[in-house]
């Protein structure tokens, strides 16, 4: 095939395209997966006891807010990474800032607590459920967002995969926060932060296979 023939073919009846499609698709995918994660947690695990009372609702919302603090910048970076060459504009560590702040808070709260209380703060009844739930709930959002990003053109597949994992992990953590009844800061820092990091690593490993185009 001659290259000129190809150019003829590609430029004949060329359709106008909407360059805002990328922002819209990723935005919708993230919002829809967040709604889905909350719905799954509501239906399968059930909301935490007394969530309609202030005392229970406020800590749940705090967890959601911190996670949103990661999710929003991570989604913006994902939009950049979905474009060719976008990897040059993503200082990745900045995204972890909210969680680094929480880890510092957690460390502070542990140093002020007697060491006999440490295991209670970290290894409460719920840690295993948290470690299993967040990655499990993240699977569907991960698949949805991978499918959307595949329609785009990421050129750094490992990094893009990591951000897809990070976004899916955050979305899942937001859903899980509706159910989770442990509000201690160290618990949140270790098990939420840890599982979201796990999702990120999984995405980083899977990215080059799943996102190729």
């Amino acid at each position: 095939m001659k290259t000129d023939d190809l150019i003829d073919m590609l430029s004949t009846n060329v359709e106008p395209v909407d360059h805002r499609q990328i922002v819209r698709s990723i935005g919708i995918a993230v919002a829809a997966s967040a709604a889905m994660a909350v719905a799954i947690v509501f239906l399968v695990l059930g909301p935490r006891a007394g969530i309609s009372s202030y005392a229970m609702l406020v800590p749940a919302l705090l967890k959601v807010a911190v996670t949103l603090g990661v999710l929003v910048p991570a989604s913006i970076y994902l939009i950049r990474l979905a474009r060719p060459g976008g990897e040059t504009r993503t200082p990745a560590l900045l995204v972890a800032a909210p969680f680094i702040a929480v880890i510092v808070l957690a460390a502070l709260s542990l140093t002020f607590a007697p060491s006999t209380h440490w295991s209670g703060a970290i290894l409460s009844d719920e840690w295993l459920e948290c470690v299993i739930s967040i990655p499990l709930i993240a699977i569907v959002p991960f698949a949805v967002i991978v499918w959307v990003v595949r329609q785009m053109a990421p050129t750094d597949l490992a990094r893009t995969g990591a951000f897809v994992g990070l976004v899916a992990g955050c979305v899942s953590a937001i859903g899980y926060a509706v159910h989770c009844a442990d509000d201690s800061v160290p618990f949140f820092a270790l098990w939420y932060g840890g599982t979201i990091a796990l999702c990120t690593v999984a995405g980083w490993k899977l990215g080059p296979k799943l996102l190729r185009w």
Binding site: M1, T3, T12, E15, I22, P84, A153, T155
Partner: protein
């Protein structure tokens, strides 16, 4: 390059709005850049000019099917370069295994390739099209090769207009994928 940038970006923006003449001009200009880029990179490792032409065409298809990922407020050439580089790395990764399998005496055949054939790629558009599902093949044949409008194609093939548009879009994407597969097969 800097002087080109503004001009090419203007062509790209017009192309994104559906201006076929501007878009054609853009693709021809870019094809020259891409050819030089690939020939330079591939000649260094003893690969043929046909291979450079294959990659040029693949990059053009990638630019076309992924043109919605270009942000009109950003410079164009870094975007083009990122696609060109991505396709080069992908190509080298896939052909590395093939090169290893080749007996050493045959390596000369690659080096003595005649540069004259470099004007055509190894892809046969007719054959690639034949591997597509009927709907996609008819739509591409009619809209992209025969130059009929989407409306004409829709009434001729008994499809809806949006169906034709989607078939063309998916078909071109499928062409790009089959080109990449054929090489790795």
């Amino acid at each position: 390059m800097a002087a080109n940038e503004a001009e090419l970006r203007g062509l790209m923006r017009a192309g994104l709005r559906g201006d076929a003449a501007a878009y054609r001009a853009l693709l021809s200009r870019l094809s020259a850049n891409l050819r030089a880029y690939y020939k330079g990179r591939l000649a260094r490792i003893g690969r043929s000019a046909t291979e450079a032409e294959d990659l040029t065409q693949e990059a053009l298809m990638a630019i076309h099917t992924r043109r919605h990922t270009y942000d009109p407020d950003a410079p164009l050439m870094p975007w083009v370069h990122a696609i060109a580089r991505y396709k080069l790395i992908d190509h080298l990764r896939q052909t590395r295994a093939l090169m290893k399998d080749m007996p050493i005496e045959n390596a000369e055949n690659i080096l003595v390739q005649d540069d004259q054939v470099g004007t055509e790629s190894a892809y046969d558009l007719k054959r690639l099209l034949n591997n597509l599902p009927d709907k996609m093949r008819h739509s591409i044949q009619s809209v992209k090769l025969d130059g009929l409008s989407v409306a004409e194609t829709a009434s001729r093939c008994g499809m809806s207009e949006s169906d034709v548009k989607i078939s063309v879009h998916r078909g071109l994407k499928a062409l790009m994928t089959s080109v990449a597969r054929k090489r790795s097969a």
